[in-house]
């Protein structure tokens, strides 16, 4: 099909300060654009995304009767929504807007060859113009958003989100796989830096959550299936004997994290019974399972920050040290654990050190660390520990402390203090390994069920690490707390409330426009082979009476069906073959 009316295309080329203008000859590109078919207007802007630029787009749509708009600037990922709504304000359907990326895909990568970059910029613009000719207005189907939410996980984060949403008047279903609420924080005795009992935080939270009429909690519940889409998710989970089915508008992921268990034998863990994890030590302290020790030694970064390589100038080292270091490095086998910094372990260790010092002032506590990360005002917490004569010793990963058994139930720890350049031995009663928070295996299942990605660190990935830290890439799903990476309690609570804010916006607005980029089946051509139904990862195709039918709200516009349809019966809205081919031809035609 052809465009409704003769296309009148406007091209706006952005200098982006010097990001583009410093390499690409923008005026030249503008003049070139003017020569292209159907281009009714072309101009350059210092920053097209600035208010001045946008006003000029709107004005020339009216002045020059533009019915297509192209902005040649940066990536659609950040700027397309802005330019689209600008077109809409000028009365132009936003799907009649096209973006040509001459920054990421041109000026930035060719910063050293301006001439060639300018040529390439022209090519990109030419392709955009070619496609724009065939753009068609699309309308976005509206869907209803159910005003109930499901929160996955009944730890501090999940509870916080639930309470906040409930207080805002939304119905919340809180689903926890354990028999009781409270999550990992339950196992913590005290909270740093206030050293108050963790129950002081959790118990009231559980009480408010469970007593709130808007919150429905399900413990010992295991998720079985999540289908549907933003505003209309269909959830199934098993509670006791029967399956529970729910329809919810939004989902908040607060599945939390695990405490990493070191493999048997690492630092003698699981071999010598007096080597425990920091969390186990905490539980011993909380339940009075620890008799007054002479000396407790803690080792930081066990199972975290693996795969670090530090560089030393051998010339600076004593012979013996250099030799030792080399032998270690040569003999070193791949560390087990996680590459990231778990962020909370330093404060946790200090917290327990202080607890021990306060219980038994005579006891020695030594903390072996490789970087002490008492960030924020936790620096004062570190200072407090030093004042209590907790000793901090910096070891280097290449020469990890060695633990052996010593007479009368003692452990002998040999550690190399890099700051003093001496090897020291500690006879201690207990060794605590500070292990990181890490993602759980279930996360993988969960991620698949929700069709959301996991990051390289194994935690759930946010939509944008800086500006959308609690949104998932799929609409209507949000992340709270440690499911997204290690956090301490205040940080978890903050992210939980933030997730609540984001979810509440969707639910409060009741209706929501969805993407128009969906598959469009030409029923004349369709033979109902069912290949699309089979291939669609979102279950958006159904064969009804011998013909394929698209459920628009489920379709994510991935195009798998269109690509594989043996009859070419499926076209992707806004990405029609015609548009793409026009672009390709334009590229060749040079």
């Amino acid at each position: 099909m052809t465009a409704l009316e003769e296309p009148r295309i406007g091209v706006f080329v952005c200098h982006c300060g010097i990001n583009i203008g410093g390499v690409v000859n923008v005026p030249e590109v503008v003049d070139y654009a003017k020569t292209l078919p159907n281009v009714a207007w072309a101009e350059g802007n210092l920053y097209t995304c600035s208010e001045a630029g946008l006003t000029s787009i709107k004005e020339s749509i009216k002045k020059n009767g533009l019915n297509r708009v192209i902005v040649a600037s940066c990536t659609p990922r950040t700027h397309e929504p802005l330019f689209r709504s600008t077109c809409e304000e000028a009365g132009l359907n936003k799907y009649l807007f096209e973006m040509a990326n001459i920054r990421e895909q041109c000026s930035w990568v060719h910063s050293h060859e301006p001439e060639e970059a300018t040529v390439k910029a022209k090519d990109i613009v030419r392709m955009a113009v070619a496609r724009a000719k065939w753009l068609e207005p699309q309308d976005e189907p509206e869907v209803d958003v159910s005003d109930s939410a499901m929160v996955i996980g009944g730890g501090i984060s999940g509870l916080t989100t639930a309470v906040n949403l409930a207080n805002q008047g939304f119905k919340v279903h809180l689903v926890e796989k354990e028999p009781q609420l409270g999550g990992l924080a339950r196992r913590l005795g005290k909270i740093y830096p206030t050293l108050q009992d963790s129950s002081e935080i959790i118990d009231p939270l559980i009480k408010t959550a469970t007593s709130n009429k808007n919150v429905q909690t399900y413990t010992s519940a295991t998720l079985k299936d999540i289908s549907g889409y933003v505003g209309n998710f269909k959830v199934t989970f098993r509670k006791g004997a029967e399956d529970v089915k729910l329809d919810v508008g939004t989902i908040v992921l607060a599945s939390g994290a695990l405490n990493y268990e070191p493999p048997k034998g690492s630092f003698q863990y699981g071999v010598l019974d007096r080597v425990v994890t920091q969390l186990q030590l905490e539980e011993m302290l909380t339940h009075g399972k620890l008799a007054e020790p002479e000396r407790v030694l803690m080792i930081q970064c066990v199972g975290s920050r693996t795969g670090e390589v530090w560089t030393y100038e051998l010339s600076d080292m004593t012979q013996s040290f250099a030799a030792r270091l080399l032998s270690k490095i040569l003999g070193a086998k791949k560390e087990e654990g996680w590459p990231y910094c778990s962020k909370i372990c330093c404060m946790n260790a200090i917290k327990n050190a202080i607890r021990i010092k306060e219980l038994w002032p005579k006891a020695h506590v030594d903390i072996l660390f490789s970087d002490l990360r008492t960030y924020k005002e936790y620096e004062d917490f570190y200072r407090k520990a030093r004042a209590l004569e907790v000793k901090f010793i910096r070891y280097i990963r290449e020469i990890p402390p060695e633990i052996t058994e010593a007479p009368n139930k003692k452990l002998k720890v040999t550690a190399y203090d890099t700051l003093a350049g001496v090897e020291t031995e500690f006879l201690c009663d207990l060794v605590a390994l500070s292990t990181p928070l890490c993602p759980s295996k279930e996360d993988v299942m969960l991620a698949r069920m929700l069709k959301v990605p996991l990051g390289p660190d194994g935690f759930f990935m946010e939509a944008h690490p800086k500006l959308r830290p609690v949104d998932c890439q799929s609409d209507g799903i949000f992340i709270a707390g440690t499911a997204c990476g290690p956090k301490d309690i205040p940080e978890s609570i903050i992210s939980a409330k933030a997730a609540a804010a984001r979810a509440s916006i969707l639910m409060a607005n009741k209706r929501l426009k969805t993407e128009a980029l969906t598959a469009d089946v030409n029923t004349d051509l369709c033979i109902g082979c069912g290949l699309c139904e089979e291939l669609c990862p979102y279950g958006a195709h159904k064969i009804e009476s011998g013909k394929s039918k698209t459920i628009a709200a489920l379709c994510r516009g991935c195009g798998v069906c269109a690509a594989d349809c043996p009859r070419r019966a499926i076209t992707m809205r806004h990405y029609s073959d015609r548009q793409i081919l026009a672009q390709v031809e334009a590229m060749m035609a040079h």
Partner: protein, 151 residues
């Protein structure tokens, strides 16, 4: 570390975060690897006794640059005094310092006035240097005499 931390002028060892600004500022440290104020504190905190640190502690110039620059107010320059005092309690004093101290107690002057000095004073019409007995009294009271050992 308890001992030093509890001695007058020794508290500094507890506030140190081993940043090394003192070592980077110390004039002596630039000339010899032997002396490193930061490391000295780390050794104290590791529990090394004065025996191990005696020689080091006497390499400090007391120019107090470290005190001026320490971001934690750990005052290494003062800690050094504390270490020396602890060592001295058991009669460990370098010759030089011992001589000065003895001379002070006996004559009231760190450097005992030499014949030539007395001659000059006379020439300039200045009174001769008198010993100051009160010094010895005070020294007796504070235990300084014990440190200086038998006359």
């Amino acid at each position: 570390m308890h001992e030093v931390a509890k001695t007058a002028r020794g508290e500094g060892v507890l506030s140190c975060i081993q940043c090394g600004r003192c070592a980077g500022s110390c004039p002596v440290g630039r000339l010899t690897l032997k002396y490193n104020p930061r490391r000295l504190i780390e050794m104290v905190n590791l529990g090394f006794k004065w025996e191990a640190l005696f020689e080091l502690s006497w390499l400090c110039l007391s120019c107090f640059t470290c005190i001026d620059r320490c971001p934690q107010g750990a005052d290494v320059g003062e800690v050094v005094f504390a270490l020396r005092a602890i060592a001295a309690r058991d009669g460990n004093v370098p010759k030089g310092a011992l001589a000065m101290a003895k001379s002070l107690v006996e004559t009231g002057h760190i450097v005992s006035p030499t014949a030539s000095v007395s001659k000059q004073r006379a020439a300039l019409g200045l009174p001769p240097c008198e010993p100051v007995p009160e010094v010895a009294k005070i020294a007796g009271k504070t235990g300084l005499n014990k440190i200086l050992g038998p006359k």
